[in-house]
C-alpha cells in the first residue's frame, strides 16, 4: 500500500508540481475545446485560437495568484 501511495505521489509531484491549479485549469480549458470540436459548430481554426487564449489566461491567473500569495 505504501509503495502504491509513493508511486502515485511521485508522479503527482513530477507532473502536477506544486500548483495543482495549473493542471486543473489546462485540463478544463482543453475539455471545453474538446466539446467545441465535438459539437462542430465552430471552425477548427477558431476553436484553436480560443483554446490557446484560454490556456494563456489559466497560466496568467496562476502566476498572478502565486505572486499575490508571495507578497502576503
Amino acid at each position: 500500500m505504501r509503495f502504491v501511495a509513493g508511486f502515485f505521489r511521485f508522479w503527482w509531484d513530477f507532473i502536477v508540481g506544486d500548483d495543482w491549479r495549473i493542471a486543473a485549469g489546462v485540463v478544463l480549458v482543453l475539455a471545453i475545446g474538446g466539446v467545441l470540436v465535438a459539437d462542430g459548430d465552430l471552425s477548427h481554426a477558431l476553436v484553436a485560437a480560443l483554446t490557446g487564449v484560454g490556456l494563456m489566461a489559466v497560466a496568467m491567473a496562476s502566476i498572478v495568484s502565486a505572486a499575490l500569495r508571495a507578497r502576503r
Binding site: 513530477f14 495549473i22 489546462v26 470540436v37 462542430g40 481554426a45 502566476i63 502565486a66
Partner: protein, 257 residues
C-alpha cells in the same frame, strides 16, 4: 534545417542542460565525500533504468495511440510541465521566489553525506549509491520525458536525442574540467527560455490533439499551420515579460520583506 528542427534541438538541449547541472551537483557531492566507486555504480544503475523506461514508453506511445490522441496526451503533459517551469522562472525573475543556488545545494548534499552512517550492501557504500541513483534518475526522468515528447510529437526522436546529448556533453565536460558544481550557469534564464519553449509546443500540440474529439480522429489545424508556433512563442514571451514587469518587487520592498 527547419525552424521546427531548431526548436526541437534547442528545447531539448536547454532543458537537459539544466537537469544535467542539478544531477552533476549531487554526483559531485557524493563522489568527493563518499568515494567515486559506489557513486558511479549509482549513476550507471540510474542510466540503465532510464534507458529501459525510454525504450518501453517511446515504443508504447508510438505504437498504441492514434496520432491526434498522442498529441493531446503528451501535449497536455508538456504544457503542464512547461507552465510549472515558466511560473517559477517568472516568480524568481520578479524577486518573489529565491533563486536556485547550486553551491548551497552542493554544501547541503556534502553535509548530509558526512553525517550519514557507513552502511554497506552488495559491497557498495549504500548511501552514495542510493543518493546518486536517485539524483540521476529523477533529473534524468525529466530529460527522458522531454526527449520522448518532442521526439514522438515532432516526428524527430534523433533530433531530440541529439539536443539532449549536446546538453549532457557541455555540462558534464564543464563539470569534469572544473570538478565543482556549475554555480555560474544562468539557471533561471535557461529555465525561463525552456518554460517558454515547452509552453509553446505544449499549447500547439495539445490543441492540435483536440481533433481527436471530432469526426475522423484527425488532428485539428492551427490557422497558419506550423507558423502558429512562432506566434504562440511570441505571445507566451510577451505575457511572461509583462508578468515580470508588473509583478517585480521594488528593491525597497525587497529589503523590507
Amino acid at each position: 534545417m527547419t525552424g521546427h528542427a531548431v526548436g526541437v534541438i534547442a528545447a531539448t538541449l536547454l532543458a537537459s542542460g539544466v537537469e544535467f547541472v542539478e544531477a552533476l551537483t549531487i554526483v559531485l557531492a557524493m563522489g568527493t565525500t563518499r568515494g567515486w566507486r559506489s557513486t558511479w555504480f549509482g549513476v550507471g544503475a540510474a542510466l540503465v533504468a532510464l534507458a529501459a523506461i525510454t525504450a518501453v514508453a517511446g515504443y508504447a506511445l508510438e505504437r498504441w495511440l492514434p496520432e491526434a490522441l498522442l498529441q493531446l496526451v503528451v501535449g497536455t503533459l508538456l504544457l503542464i510541465f512547461g507552465l510549472q517551469w515558466l511560473r517559477k522562472a517568472i516568480l524568481r525573475a520578479a524577486g518573489l521566489k529565491a533563486l536556485h543556488d547550486e553551491e548551497e545545494t552542493y554544501r547541503e548534499e556534502v553535509a548530509a553525506a558526512e553525517r550519514a552512517g557507513d552502511e554497506r550492501r552488495l559491497g557498495l557504500d549504500w548511501f552514495a549509491f542510493v543518493v546518486s541513483f536517485k539524483g540521476v534518475f529523477l533529473e534524468g526522468l525529466e530529460i527522458v520525458f522531454i526527449v520522448i515528447t518532442f521526439g514522438v510529437n515532432g516526428g524527430s526522436i534523433p533530433l531530440a536525442v541529439i539536443g539532449a546529448a549536446l546538453g549532457g556533453v557541455v555540462v558534464l565536460g564543464a563539470g569534469l574540467a572544473l570538478h565543482r558544481p556549475l554555480a555560474r550557469v544562468p539557471e533561471n534564464t535557461i529555465k525561463f527560455a525552456v518554460g517558454l519553449l515547452l509552453s509553446t509546443f505544449g499549447t500547439f500540440w495539445s490543441v492540435e490533439g483536440l481533433g481527436w474529439f471530432g469526426p475522423g480522429d484527425s488532428s485539428l489545424h492551427w490557422p497558419g499551420g506550423d507558423a502558429a508556433i512562432l506566434v504562440l512563442l511570441a505571445l507566451w514571451a510577451t505575457l511572461a515579460w509583462a508578468a515580470v514587469r508588473l509583478l517585480s518587487v521594488q528593491p525597497r520592498e525587497r529589503e523590507a520583506a
